[in-house]
Amino acid sequence: MKTCRELRSRILPAVDGSLSIEAMFEFEEHLRACADCRERYEEARALDAALARLPEPPVERVDVARAVARVRAAIDRESAPAPRRATRWVPLAIAATAAAAILVAVFRPRSLPAPAAPSADRGEPTMATESPALPPATPEPVDIPLDPARLAQAREEVRCLLALAAERLPAPGDPALPAELASRFDEGSRDLERSRWPVLRLVEGALGDPDPAVARAALRYLGMRGDRLSIRMLEGALARPQSLVDAALALCDAGEAGLDSLAPAVRDPRASSLVLARVSARGGPGAARFLEACVRETARVEGSRRGSARLLEEIDALARTGTSAVASLLRLGSDGTLTPAEVIDALARTQGAGESVADFFLSRPRGVDDGLVLQALAALQPSRALPLLEKRCLELRERRGQVLECIEAYGGKDGLATLLRLSASGRIAPADLEIPILSTLSRDRGAGSAVVEDWSRAGRRVELHVFQGFLFDHPVSASAPACIALSGSDLVPSSDRRWAVLLAGETGIAEDADALAELFWRLKPAEKELRAACLIAIRALAGVDRIERVVDSLPSRTAGRVLALLAERDARTRPASTASRLARELESALAPIVP
């Protein structure tokens, strides 16, 4: 017998679910007897519930695309050569700086001065610049007086840099991001940026370049920047037929930021397949929302002629975004855009959809049909979704009723085994589990016996004991096959096995007599009490005729005595005390065949 102090150490494991079922049984038994430990346990659970109710971090405020860009920029800054420290040896430092300046002047002929001329009062044209989001070293927005000759020179430098960077463009059809193009251009244009040239505007100027490689590089560079100004420039390029495809690819490169501008590209047959493939490959919630809108729009336009190759391609692209597609597909099924069969078919092709549908069910978002979610959940790998639901059922108290309904909807052997394991955990009120278990048993009479056979093979004595208790407390017709299976299990004590057989005879239907006859022949001759119980139960369910077939191969004297005993008394109407006497008489009739 464990002491109160020893069992108290189980409070935390019991609350956080790391206790074995056996240990939990022992612990709960102690709780029933010890008010002090019970109070401590309830306090620990109250703290757990309070922790579970803490508001979630506001992840919706996180702009992941921007965070990626910032991390990249910070890494760039760190990898740039550190500025020289001021040294006490000033004369040498000055000399070195001067020497470096001379070297730069001699060996860098394309180096440009700042756009602002020394005399700003010459009435030169000005160019309003906008501060792009990246890189962070970009100067503040200013109106810069321009020298036309220097501007032409700067444009030419940007053009050359783009032509060089274009060598790093991914091959046509390669879905990789043109990251090297962007980094090469950024590297080359650093001096222009430092000299406060509006590099982004100069890149925009290159969009109409007669050299298609330069124009393409400019578009893809803008996509990699992905800030608001770049996206606006790309929207303009999307409207021009000659740059539509590359502008669409560039908007795909921009990730979430470019999605809202991509709608015209999806409607254009030249770009639509490319865009769908890229957007789905990038994945994420934004991509799924975008593709959901595409599917809805296409289905709306097609109306009753629905089912075109384009719609199928869009659904397929949505399914390939992974778990993000789950919410979108369920919404599309709930508002009637897609049929339940189309939704489930698409979900079946969606990686990781099983768990996500289960999560989705638990979160119960508005505008989604519960029935559809259940259908989807039952269709998608119940073997993976059920353990998840079981875990959630133990973790969440508020939505437990819904989760149990969901497990009940699965039904069958797996659903029943899950419900019984939950019962065995002792963490859920028996009243909450009663209806789901009974309903699962009556929908599938074979489920109970299948569970018993599985657990007997696996040696799960504790769970079998819990199931047995449930069956004995609920003598209904649906439990008879499980009772028969229990009486054939070596893990159940022999007195309980006999009681299970007699109970099956009381509550079962005529078809159950076959299982009992099979059990009768499987039993060893020495198990005469159990065999007698089988005969009484068969007699009760299917009458004496059925008994004749069962005892046919017994020695004729034994068979005759058995039949006489069973024929002369009506087992169905006999009170329990005489039924047990009949059993004893049958046992003695069967005794001679024991070797």
């Binding site: 401590r40 306090e43 309070a50 971090p57 992941v64």
Partner: protein, 206 residues
């Protein structure tokens, strides 16, 4: 524990991305950032309680991860490794905040969410007086007052539901110590929140 085919495929893709990132492929690293940013942010938010600080530290976490990638040995999961870096940053942040507090700036003043509770005097019958939202604030305040390593253990196990082995790996202790840290944290919280959790026992600890 046996992994599903999908999990193995995912891990293989991630390992490929890590190898590419280690050889200097920035696009691969961008993808890793994209995959893991939200989770790192969420952990830091739970540790610090401020959106802006958590976002900044999450970015710093990835910048450091880039620098440290050559030392990543793939013995721990990448997410665990990132979380370990994030934890160091959160602890540095905590130390810096404590210094500021020492110089007169009160922690409650930086987080209005928490300061409301900090300033309120305990009611005679808090269980009746406080709504569920207020209880959450009380829990958040009590959490923020835990020593960082206990807080980390409780956040990782009690809120994020990680296995003790992973908690241990992130916090750099043995699994048994991680379990002790979680118990200590729970004990302190239970004591601090006793009036709200309906404890009748002095201190309310188990």
């Amino acid at each position: 524990m046996a992994r599903t085919l999908d999990e193995m495929r995912e891990a293989a893709t991630e390992q490929a991305l890590i190898r590419r990132a280690r050889s200097g492929d920035r696009a691969a690293f961008d993808r890793l950032v994209r995959e893991h940013f939200t989770r790192v942010y969420a952990f830091l938010h739970r540790m610090i309680g401020s959106h802006e600080d958590a976002e900044d530290l999450a970015q710093e976490c990835f910048v450091r991860a880039w620098g440290a990638l050559p030392h990543y040995r793939e013995e721990a999961a990448f997410s665990t490794w990132l979380c370990r870096i994030a934890l160091h940053l959160a602890q540095d942040h905590h130390r810096a905040s404590s210094r500021r507090e020492g110089s007169g700036e009160a922690a409650g003043d930086r987080d209005p969410h928490i300061s409301g509770i900090a300033r309120s005097s305990p009611e005679p019958s808090p269980a009746e007086a406080l709504s569920r939202a207020e209880l959450s604030r009380a829990v958040a305040l009590a959490l923020s007052r835990l020593p960082p390593r206990l807080r980390a253990a409780l956040v990782l196990r009690g809120i994020e539901g990680r296995e003790y082995a992973e908690v241990a790996e992130i916090t750099g202790v043995k699994p048994a110590t991680a379990r002790t840290h979680v118990m200590q944290a729970r004990r302190i919280l239970q004591r601090a929140l006793a009036p709200w959790l309906g404890s009748r026992r002095e201190g309310g600890a188990s």
